[in-house]
């Protein structure tokens, strides 16, 4: 910097960036506001099916954000999301039906139960290889499903827990039960927004930086005195909280918690959402969740066709787009910017 003899390319680019920055920022904010407005007004303009799809997107958003924290930002491939999704659903359903707890107690309880289970699971499995962690988390899904099917006293077995109440706002005399899809949409919209804030708070915090350091070079991070395993455990527990609350959100929407909530289908869906968006990329995962859910719900494919496409997509992502579609759009934006400012061409 300082008094340069002649303007170099990066300098000019920087100047262009400074000049364009307020405009870009405004454009970004406008786009964000437009998207937010679209989501807020969706129940007023869309039919019930579209609104239900919006609820599903909010439900899937939570486990996907959690997976991005543990897999995208920390580099730990976990199959556990499906298990915590199911456990969260059961926890909230059991507390609500047996003990009559309100949602504002059962949802956090679902998160706490999942966090504790994750921490207990993480301590031994993280000491071993990556292979062990993957297999232990996968095994955890199957074991959780088996318990849900067989511990009839707690879980009602294959029947599942039926009659999970819809959440009610307010206190006893003035209770307002969320019965319509529109009402539940705003309820899940609130949870999704809360989850996004928590996700941002985790990723942007110093701890979030530590997670990325663990992912990028574990040995180096450890040599700087970072407690690598503690950060991994925290990341895994965070992912479990997101998945657990997501499961609770689903159980109170469908008014049932059943062993099929542990199907590997869910684990696969969350993995594909994170991979397709771009692991470790902040906005790509929420965008991918919305695109995935709306595409899979509005396009009428049979489950086989849908899973066949998911398989193809997975192979495509692994071999052609290991960074996901997110960076592709970032590249596109960069190219667009170069087109707009031709003097900066390298």
């Amino acid at each position: 910097m300082g008094s340069s003899v002649e303007r170099s390319e990066p300098d000019r680019a920087l100047r262009w960036g400074r000049r364009a920055a307020p405009g870009l920022l405004l454009a970004g904010r406008l786009l964000g506001a437009a998207v937010a407005a679209a989501f807020v007004t969706l129940p007023l303009v869309g039919d019930n099916y579209v609104v239900a799809t919006g609820i599903l997107a909010a439900i899937y958003l939570l486990p996907s954000l959690g997976l991005n924290i543990v897999f995208g930002y920390t580099g730990l491939l976990s199959f556990g999301q499906g298990a915590f999704f199911g456990i969260g659903a059961y926890t909230s359903a059991i507390l609500a039906t047996r003990l009559g707890w309100p949602f504002w107690a059962t949802f956090p309880a679902a998160g706490v139960v999942c966090a504790v289970l994750a921490a207990v699971l993480a301590v031994p499995s993280l000491r071993l290889s990556r292979f062990s962690f993957v297999m232990v988390t996968l095994g955890f899904v199957i074991i959780a499903q088996t318990i849900a099917q067989n511990w009839v006293g707690l879980t009602e077995g294959n029947m599942g827990i039926i009659g999970v109440p819809r959440p009610a706002l307010g206190v006893s005399p003035r209770r307002f039960v969320l019965r319509t899809v529109q009402e539940y949409y705003y309820f899940s919209f609130g949870w999704a927004a809360l989850a996004l804030v928590a996700y941002w708070w985790i990723v942007a915090s110093p701890a979030g930086r530590a997670l990325r350091a663990v992912r990028d070079d574990e040995v180096l991070a450890a040599s700087y005195g970072m407690p690598v395993n503690r950060y991994k455990t925290i990341a895994f527990a965070c992912s479990a909280v997101f998945a657990g609350v997501g499961g609770a959100l689903e159980a109170h929407y469908l008014t049932i918690a059943s062993p099929s909530g542990f199907d590997l289908y869910y684990t696969n869906v969350f993995l594909i959402i994170v991979l397709a968006g771009g692991r470790g990329s902040f906005w790509a995962v929420p965008v991918a969740t919305v695109v995935f859910v709306f595409f899979s719900q509005l396009a009428s494919f049979t489950p086989e066709q849908q899973q066949l496409m998911m398989g193809v997509l997975l192979l495509l992502l692994v071999f052609r787009l290991p960074g996901g579609f997110g960076p592709l759009f970032v590249d596109l934006a960069a190219r667009l910017r170069r087109r707009l400012a031709p003097e900066v061409t390298p």
Binding site: P124, V136, L138, E304, V312
Partner: protein, 287 residues
Amino acid sequence: MVVEQLLNGLLVGSIYGLVAVGLTLLYGVLHLVNFAQGEYFMLGAFATWTGLELLRLPYAAAIVVAVAFSALLALLVSLTIMERLVAKSFELGVLATMGLSMLYQNGSQLIFGATFRHFGGGWPGLVTVLGVTLSVQRIVILVVTAAAFLGLEWMVRRTRVGKAMRAVSQNYEACVIAGIDVKRIARWTFVVGIALAGAAGALMGPIVVSIYPAIGTSFTTRAFTVIAIGGLGNMTGAYLGALILGVVESFVVGFVGLGYRDAVAFLALVVILMTRPYGLFGRTVRA
């Protein structure tokens, strides 16, 4: 009752062994995982079923067709996918083979339908050995599996390809430098393992009687448990591990309940990985 459970366990364990041996070879030689391993069992069973029901072949010929089909498919998949995963990150291998598994399972569902298919054929004749009566089918399975493991052990120890496999497992880069065709070794390892998994499907068809496209999933999980019990990459260990798992499952079904069978394998896997990550019989952790 106990003898019956034991024999049943050994039989199922033999099948687990046939499915798992490819997995342990793949991990031992190339440090690759394969989450689609059980799907090759399923495809082997469906290929045999196609031979029996649509082509009206005798059972023995249908088995040959199924094994040949499995080997060809494995060659194709090896050339297009598996060889590109060698020396890549572990996570990519997991995700790519998961994608393959989804393709196989849902592809078969589109072709054959999601329903159960009756599997005829097999050799139902009974033979009594030392007071125990067994069907010929079961004896064939026990003998074929034992022979396959002996043959593979011989191959790995004595033949040129086997020596190259061991060399690759010890030091991948040195083998590349020494001019060993690592891709060819990878291909050979994969094709042999998949052909055996296909054979397992062909042989198990008459025992399970009805087959369906999702039948492979549980065999994938069993195969992973088996190689963890045996020690990743240890073939004799995998055989013993498979027999142990089969017998334990059989006793759990007999004395605890059918509902817990699927959890046994994973519980064993988790416990083994946490307490003895080098397997029941291993002494050292592989680098």
